[in-house]
Amino acid sequence: MNKKRRMFVRMVTASLVRRRSRMIVALLAIIVGATILSGLGMIYFDVPRQMSAQFRSYGANIIFTPSDDGYIDKDSLEKGISCFSKEQLEGYTPYRYENTSIHNIPVTLAGTDFSGVLKTSPYWHINGSMPSSDGEALIGAKAAEKLGISVGDSISAQNSFEVTDETDLTGIPDYEIYTDPETGEKYCDHMLELKAAGILETGGSEEEYIYVTLADIQSLTLSDRGYDIVEVSVAAMQDELKDYLKQVGEKTPDISARLVKRVTASESTVLTKLEALVLIVTIVVLALTMICVATTMTAVIAERRKEIGLRKALGAQNSSIMAEFLSEGLVLGGVGGIAGSLLGFVFADIVSMNVFSSPITFRPLLLPITIAASVIVTGLACMIPIKSAVEVDPALVLKGE
């Protein structure tokens, strides 16, 4: 048996290697099919991840607000944030709003953490630069227009509050006491000098505010109250987000967490449609590959009709000729599948870089699946022409003259 098997391998190898110029056409068809199959597979499985990362760039998808009239203090924020898994939490940004006046025009000042703000508001467009230290401010475009501020200007924000005891003010630099001549009440005019580092454009209400660091707003107001709102960005799908909301509600009753509806709802619809599209394209590609391989194999086998007749004349049974030709096809399918599954990864990565600007996650399981699919499709595609080809009449194809 051993010698026979060795001869079998020898014939199949010789046919593949010595007829490679013919085989290359079939192999190319298989490689193209396998590449698209594995590439689309990678994309199909990676799309949800990519898409949620993508949607994330349209802003935070969870908002924390205080559950009563108060504020969110630091401790409960930390508790709330700890509910999210580290891998999925992309960032969060607290905001604290205060009404002040600048050059005697009322303006809302927003204290925030500039380091994380692009995680939750990646769509912010800044002319100039993002504030990098205390004393720098990011001016909303509308506020800048109202106040006539441009990048690099110095501004001073003014906060007035009533003082009952002047000793409370010890240690605060730069303030003026002012007494209302009618009521006799004393007020403190506390000033904060700021430099406009950049102008913010968002197309939304953010353009009305002036953003400063949390430390600046604290020193302006002389108070360290908590936050008014916290924006959270989590890379998770709708259902998972809902679970998170429940957890946050249970763990920190003073935080009311809710989804930013606009983004997450459309996210899911688009995703479902996209997945369906990829699935359909995959099926169409598989069918096309099969037709292409079958056509190529039909041509390859047609030119071997004489060889099949000869083998029959030498005493070959149909089944053994089929086994030989099928093995050639399966080897081609395997080689094409291996090459295609690797090329598919490259293809998916290029698509991902171009569409989502991020690399694809390599899914090793897709390699054996692609190779198996490639072998099966090639096998089926070969069976059709082989089955009819082995029926040739040796006397007819070997006829002399």
Partner: protein
């Protein structure tokens, strides 16, 4: 006892009688030439004897068995075991080298054995060409590979259809020498030819015309070896 007997064998293609009531007896070890003009039914007769085709009517008795009644599978096995074929067009597998082409016949017959295959090539004078592909061999060399392939399984009968039709005289003589050698060893030979020179060296000459055997004579000029 005769090796092969055709009894009233006919082959009809529509209106055309390619072979009509042919009767022929071949003894073991006999060397027969079948001659006739083109279209006279020589190949048709060969294909029937070689189990590659079935007659429209009549019986073919090979080694005491009526092979016209056998199933296709049995027929294939039978022909594989008893008959070695040589064609005018050589018909080698173009991606296999000489020795591999010989081994293919062993492969379908029983067990491939490279040593034996090389010995067969040596017999036809092609030992040093064993690793050449058919495209690297001359016509005469290709035909000798075919003969090596035909005799590798020690068949009782070698059927050759115009084996020298595509060969020059030098190669024709080499092939005829190999036939003489085989005949001496006791192999039965049926050689189809329209070339008188090839016919003259056989023991017996059967002439066909329009599908009918018109003569069947011993060859007086036949000589048993030089």
């Amino acid at each position: 006892m005769s090796l092969l007997e055709l009894k009233d064998v006919s082959k009809v293609y529509g209106e055309l009688h390619a072979l009509e009531k042919a009767n022929l007896k071949v003894d073991k070890g006999e060397w027969i030439a079948i001659m006739g003009p083109s279209g006279s039914g020589k190949s048709t007769m060969m294909n029937i004897i070689g189990c590659m085709d079935r007659p429209s009517s009549g019986q073919v008795i090979f080694d005491g068995r009526d092979i016209t009644k056998e199933s296709r599978k049995k027929l294939t096995e039978f022909h594989r075991d008893k008959i070695g074929l040589v064609f005018q067009q050589f018909h080698l597998i173009n991606y296999l080298n000489a020795v591999e082409n010989v081994m293919v016949a062993q492969y379908y017959h029983s067990m491939p054995d490279e040593k034996e295959a090389l010995e067969a090539l040596e017999r036809v004078g092609l030992k040093d060409r064993a690793r050449h592909l058919p495209s690297q061999l001359s016509g005469g060399e290709q035909q000798r590979v075919c003969i090596a392939r035909a005799l590798i399984n020690s068949p009782e009968l070698i059927l050759a259809d115009e084996p020298t039709g595509n060969l020059d005289e030098a190669n024709e003589n080499i092939v005829l020498d190999i036939f003489r050698q085989l005949h001496k060893e006791g192999t039965s030979l049926i050689v189809v030819t329209h070339d008188p020179e090839v016919g003259e060296v056989a023991q017996r000459i059967v002439r066909l015309d329009h599908g009918k055997i018109i003569s069947d004579k011993k060859n007086e000029s036949f000589s048993e070896g030089e």
